[in-house]
């Protein structure tokens, strides 16, 4: 049960809207890579169709893991991940291949194929799945690259592009097939301010134009607040601190929410990993 002062409403302030027609339902999901390391503990969420949902939270709170569970790259230890009414089974390869044709994902570090050129990376999903002529593929690839400002870099090898460019190429590849669901894992990391603004607007416009659903995992509060319909703030163990419209979170009086959205060093969220007292670690007591 979230505290009363925490916003739990849906997009643009409509609390009734969130539960209607969700594309993805996370239903009491618990996940850990081993028994001693639980990343997500009994998490329940819904992601509305055709909306941009930002998942914010500190490092290691399970944001990327959540995307991996939705994509079926990892399987939940317990609970259900439902995509468009179908429970995702990470062991069912046939189902995964079928559902993933409707998904696109921008990986945290790009995950570009280093043996291919920029052009071939973006063309990869089209060549694998779409029965299109090479001329048609060329047009689509150049359009997608143009959207991220890299049409002129089409002929470069991946080893020749910078980290920020690689992220933008990965973004072009993620949207190449115009999927129904696009998951962006840290889309703004490593981008300069201009590229960041362009990428943020691209995510927003793409969602509006194609009616797709976007999940944006990020640390960049201003960009996410600017483009999202709904924002979820996560903490360690996958605990949902708050969720609501960007305005609701920005105006929240909850100390944890305020600390995160304002980037304050002091507050309920500890900067330091749990450790013994300083005096004990530096043996100040013994020396005294």
């Amino acid at each position: 049960m979230p505290p009363a002062n925490r916003p739990t409403s849906g997009p643009r302030g409509s609390s009734a809207g969130l539960s209607t027609d969700p594309l993805i339902v996370i239903d009491h999901v618990t996940f850990g890579y081993d028994a001693s390391r639980v990343i997500l503990n009994d998490v329940s969420l819904q992601f509305r169709r055709g909306k941009v949902t930002a998942i914010l939270g500190g490092s290691g709170c399970g944001k990327t893991t959540l995307l991996r569970l939705i994509g079926g790259i990892s399987g939940a230890n317990s609970g259900r991940v439902v995509f468009d009414g179908e429970v995702i089974n990470a062991r069912d390869r046939e189902q995964l291949l079928r559902l993933r044709r409707r998904m696109g994902m921008l990986f945290q570090f790009g995950a570009l194929f280093t043996d291919l050129t920029v052009y071939d990376n973006v063309a990869f999903p089209l060549r694998e799945h779409a029965a299109l002529s090479e001329e048609m593929i060329r047009d689509i690839v150049l359009m997608k690259l143009n959207a991220v400002g890299l049409r002129g870099a089409a002929g470069l090898r991946i080893s020749e592009v910078s980290g920020g460019m690689a992220r933008r190429i990965a973004l072009a590849r993620a949207i190449a097939m115009d999927p129904e669901l696009i998951m962006y894992d840290e889309p703004f990391a490593g981008l300069d301010l201009i590229s960041m603004g362009v990428a943020a607007q691209l995510i927003r416009k793409l969602t509006d134009a194609t009616g797709s659903t976007a999940l944006v995992v990020s640390h960049d509060v201003p960009e996410c607040m600017a483009i999202s319909d709904h924002v979820i703030l996560m903490a360690g163990g996958g605990r949902i601190v708050a969720q609501g419209t960007p305005d609701e979170l920005m105006n929240s009086t909850d100390p944890e929410v305020r600390q995160f959205v304002r980037g304050e060093p002091d507050g309920p969220v500890k900067f330091h990993y749990a450790a013994p007292p300083l005096a004990q670690d530096f043996r100040l007591v013994d020396r005294a």
């Binding site: 790259i73 291949l97 044709r101 990986f107 194929f113 280093t114 799945h129």
Partner: protein
């Protein structure tokens, strides 16, 4: 009590590992027909795995041929049987040394390259990205490499034996002065194409399957860290070499148990 529990856990881990490897191999074989339909992918792998291994294979084959001719000559001189030199060198190479040494070199050159490539693709999330694009990496990445390795290995072993025989000819006939007619004549008379050359090719095919499957499995199952990839490449060489040597004994016993 704790020791017993640890032993049990370790045993279960090992059995689980065998199960995973068997499942992986079955999956690899299942994806072969699909990969064969995408010939350009296979051809590029035959080039990367086979052609790029030629230098080490040919240089080693030539060196082995040189040394084998010298050693055999010294061994045969006391018996006055130097005319058998060509035959002995040929049988040694096509039956044993060609397939086995070529496989060991293959594991060191192509096997480690495959493991490192797949391991780094995993570490860089390229395999996960492929899966997220609804492309099965086993069909798109692993199966073409598997076919490339299995096709390349017998060809490399044949080239190893051929260049070895030519090396032995240079030393025996050119340097030592063994009669060229004897060198080739006995070989032509006593080497059976099916029994000797054919079995050698079958061996190298089996070694190709072993080395390539081990390399791909180690790469696919590697921990996605620099240390993990380093350990995986080492394991590829060790496991492939041990499997090749063990399987060579089994195959030799099956193929040449009767005179």
């Amino acid at each position: 009590m704790i020791a017993i529990a640890r032993l049990g856990a370790r045993t279960l881990d090992v059995l689980r590992g065998f199960g995973r490897a068997a499942w992986f191999f079955a999956d690899l074989v299942r994806n072969v027909p699909g990969a064969l339909r995408r010939l350009p992918l296979v051809v590029s792998q035959v080039y990367a795995i086979g052609n790029l291994s030629l230098v080490i294979i040919l240089a080693s084959g030539l060196a082995v041929g040189f040394v084998l001719a010298l050693q055999m000559y010294y061994a045969l001189v006391p018996y006055g049987a130097t005319e058998s030199l060509g035959l002995i060198v040929n049988l040694s190479l096509v039956r044993e040394l060609g397939p086995v040494v070529a496989a060991l070199l293959f594991a060191g050159r192509a096997g480690t390259s495959l493991t490192a490539e797949i391991g780094l693709m995993k570490a860089g999330e390229q395999l996960a990205a492929m899966e997220m694009m609804a492309v099965d990496p086993r069909a798109r990445v692993l199966a073409p490499r598997f076919i490339g390795g299995v096709v390349s290995m017998p060809l490399l072993a044949a080239l190893f034996s051929t260049i070895g025989i030519l090396g032995a000819y240079v030393v025996a006939v050119g340097l030592i002065g063994v009669d060229a007619g004897n060198f080739w004549g006995l070989m032509q008379d006593r080497v059976d194409v099916w029994r000797d050359v054919g079995n050698g090719i079958v061996k190298s095919f089996v070694f190709g399957v072993i080395c390539t499957a081990v390399a791909l499995y180690q790469g696919y199952e590697t921990q996605a860290t620099p240390e993990g990839v380093a350990y995986a490449t080492t394991r590829t060489v060790v496991i492939s070499s041990l499997c090749v040597l063990g399987m060579d004994f089994v195959l030799t016993a099956l193929m040449f148990s009767t005179p």
